[in-house]
């Protein structure tokens, strides 16, 4: 059902992802405006653009004894990893490349973010970004195992790690129906991998912006944009994994993919207004004592169903 799109689609996918990211940024700006008691006008859509251009014309900073190469690479790698991760995500019936190990590819790209964010914190040779970088390492330890079990559960249901096969397996029943726990864990870990609230401790205000403390200008822009790209990529991947991909009545498959992605993205962005940041020193325990066992039980249930069916 999912076919490889022609090669030029590799250029289109980043553009589509960027549009999703921009939508998320505009939505976030609208929610902030509402909290501030300001009217939410259509003009708010341009807010991310002007924030971005303001950063574009800002001077870049450097710090004493910074590891400049790794520091700048780290920021850029977040955006690059997010972009690469969507190559396996189908839009309707087409993916840039429906790899036989697509789920592993997606997972590998998000692991790049671990290194990227830690390097951004470490490279500036500054105490607060360093602390924030390690916060993300701790966060990775907390969310990654439940996250991988959630991914594996979807693969288990389809008997394949190929995203196209996973979509095919949901032709009758979406995975979210019979693996809801895995879906919820996936959404939680999507927030955590994009260091989005409530898992935004690596960029937290209590550290003056965490790993971004020393960043200005284009370096800051690349990191912030990368975060929105990641959030968008994680939302897009939720659709083929749990929400039946492009499946749906009447409308064309690609439109269903877009609608479902926007719905997931909307929930993730909105989550920020409802909850404070989770302190990672407290969350890790919950993650290991509650989420991992839950994810395992979910995987077991799915495995039994697959065997019995």
């Amino acid at each position: 059902m999912v076919e490889n799109a022609p090669l030029w689609s590799a250029l289109v996918a980043p553009v589509l992802l960027a549009m999703l990211a921009w939508t998320a940024a505009a939505g976030s700006a609208a929610l902030s405006a509402r909290a501030a008691g300001l009217p939410v006008r259509p003009g708010i859509l341009s807010t991310p653009v002007w924030q971005a251009t303001s950063l574009l014309v800002q001077q870049r900073r450097t710090t004493q004894a910074a590891d400049t190469l790794l520091w700048r690479l780290g920021g850029a790698a977040v955006a690059v990893a997010a972009t690469l991760s969507v190559l396996v995500v189908p839009l309707g019936g087409y993916a840039v490349s429906d790899l036989s190990v697509g789920v592993v590819w997606f997972n590998a790209m998000e692991i790049v973010v671990w290194a990227a964010l830690w390097l951004t914190g470490w490279g500036s040779n500054s105490a607060l970004p360093l602390v924030a970088g390690y916060r993300f390492v701790a966060q990775g330890m907390a969310y990654e195992l439940p996250h991988m079990f959630a991914l594996i559960t979807a693969g288990l249901g389809a008997g394949s790690l190929q995203v196209g096969r996973i979509v095919e397996a949901q032709a009758d029943v979406w995975f979210v129906v019979w693996m809801p726990v895995a879906f919820v864990i996936y959404l939680l870990s999507a927030l955590a991998m994009a260091f989005w609230s409530p898992f935004d401790q690596p960029l937290a205000r209590d550290l003056g912006g965490g790993v971004a403390v020393e960043l200005s200008g284009v370096d800051r822009l690349v990191l912030i944009a990368g975060r929105y790209l990641l959030l968008a990529a994680a939302s897009a991947m939720a659709v083929p994994l749990f929400l039946g991909g492009g499946g749906g009545p009447v409308l064309p498959a690609w439109l269903w993919s877009v609608i479902k992605t926007l719905a997931v993205l909307g929930v993730l962005v909105w989550a920020r207004t409802r909850v404070p940041t989770v302190r990672m020193d407290r969350f890790t325990e919950v993650s290991w004592m509650v989420l991992i066992p839950l994810a395992l039980v979910q995987a077991l249930v799915v495995a039994v169903i697959v065997l019995v069916r």
Partner: protein, 438 residues
């Protein structure tokens, strides 16, 4: 087409707001304007393009502000707001400066020129004295003073200098490292301990045993006085291992320099004239600060809005519905309680408003605002005060603060400070009077 010029003229202000002791009214006015204009508040000088000082005295934080100013990337503008009534006009002026192309271009090229001059000066010096960035002098300095006072590498970076400019080593902009290195050489040239090369001319972090008896790097981080969501005038010097606080010292930054809390006049004799500085507006101010520190800007922003409405003279009936919806959400937030439960625990013998853990304190604040809003229907609520000695509570809070911070992660430490929110203005009020009258 001059694209760069086009974009520069459309630069959005990102102000970094610094508040000095006594600058609360001005800060409230500034925060209100930022909110209404939709200006994004910068969390550090490095992120900002505008530096805003809220301080009643013309000088006093000059050293801090100059250091921060060095670290604001261009295009940039700065302003000092003394009187809250001028806030709008001065912010406008600063925003206009920000998009004055010629001015900004001159500023940027002047900074490049300065940086180049500093670099060549540094080279000359290095050629004269020792090689490049070699820090043997500094290493000697470390050995000399044992591990305790050695400055770790991370201590020297400029940013910690920015947001927390009270660094022992001082903050330096990206381009004026030269001066720093030179002073280090000059000051300790006698202690030549060998030709060990240090990365970038910075001494390595010193090490000490942590709580588990492991040898770990120590970081020295100073919180305040220029830090968002932080009590004006408070300075807390931390020794960290990882992000766990090992040592904490509290100081107060006044317009005439730094003093220890023991030197403050407040609290000791009970300044009754300070009773008036605590009401629903102040409580909502503390709550918005705590919510921002806790990483819940949406709820914090609503608290600011309610605070501003009350301060502007709104009656209880005007804000009650909004307040109830907001306070219910905050009170019922399990995640917020989860963050603040069990930290900053204080027992009996202390003023009632400090007792309990961080959760107990913010819940008490909510209850106090509840009470204020449920009485008096048509009076302006913002003018109501509770009779309480704010200065002595602040003094007590500062006394117990170091003990509460030790052994806590940085995230918890910030929440503890926010949950106590000592009113340094009240604590130093007597001192200001003494200075103006004497």
């Amino acid at each position: 087409v001059d694209l760069r010029g086009f974009l520069l003229r459309r630069t959005r202000p990102r102000p970094f707001v610094v508040t000095a002791v006594g600058g609360r009214h001005t800060r409230l006015a500034v925060e209100r304007l930022l909110r209404l204009r939709g200006w994004h508040e910068a969390l550090t000088a490095g992120e900002a393009n505008m530096l805003v000082l809220c301080a009643p005295s013309p000088h006093g934080l000059d050293d801090v502000m100059d250091r921060l100013w060095d670290q604001v990337p261009g295009p940039r503008a700065r302003t000092h707001i003394i009187d809250a009534n001028d806030a709008g006009r001065l912010l406008d002026t600063a925003a206009a400066t920000l998009v004055e192309l010629e001015l900004q271009r001159d500023d940027i090229s002047a900074r490049y020129a300065n940086a180049a001059a500093t670099d060549s000066g540094h080279d000359l010096h290095a050629g004269h004295a020792m090689s490049g960035h070699d820090m043997d002098a500094h290493a000697g300095h470390d050995m000399d003073r044992h591990d305790m006072d050695a400055h770790p590498a991370h201590d020297m970076d400029e940013h910690a200098g920015h947001a927390m400019p009270e660094h022992d080593t001082g903050g330096h902009a990206g381009h004026d490292m030269g001066g720093h290195d030179m002073s280090a050489h000059g000051g300790h040239a006698g202690h030549d301990m060998g030709a060990m090369q240090m990365p970038g001319g910075v001494a390595m972090a010193s090490r000490a045993e942590d709580r588990d008896g492991l040898k770990l790097d120590q970081l020295h981080v100073t919180l305040g006085p220029a830090l968002p969501d932080w009590p004006a005038g408070l300075v807390v010097r931390l020794t960290l291992q990882g992000d766990v606080v090992q040592e904490a010292q509290v100081a107060l930054r006044t317009s005439s320099g730094e003093i220890s809390p023991a030197e403050s006049p407040g609290g000791a004799g009970g300044h009754d004239d300070q009773l008036a500085s605590c009401g629903p507006v102040e409580r909502l101010d503390s709550l918005q600060r705590l919510l921002f520190v806790a990483g819940w800007p949406a709820a914090g922003m609503v608290a600011r809005r309610l605070r501003d409405d009350l301060a502007a003279g709104a009656s209880a009936s005007n804000v009650r519905d909004q307040y109830r919806a907001w306070s219910r959400r905050v009170r019922q937030s399990r995640l917020l309680r989860w963050s603040t439960d069990g930290i900053g625990l204080l027992g009996g013998g202390l003023p009632e408003e400090l007792r309990g853990d961080a959760t107990a304190r913010w819940k008490r604040w909510l209850a106090e605002v509840d009470a204020a809003l449920s009485s008096a229907d048509n009076d302006p609520v913002g003018t109501r005060f509770w009779g309480r000695n704010v200065a002595s509570a602040a003094r007590t809070a500062l006394d117990v603060l170091p003990g509460l911070l030790i052994g806590r992660e940085l995230a918890a430490a910030r929440l503890i400070v926010a949950s106590l929110d000592p009113d340094i203005d009240a604590l130093l009020a007597g001192r200001h009077e003494a200075m103006t009258h004497g």
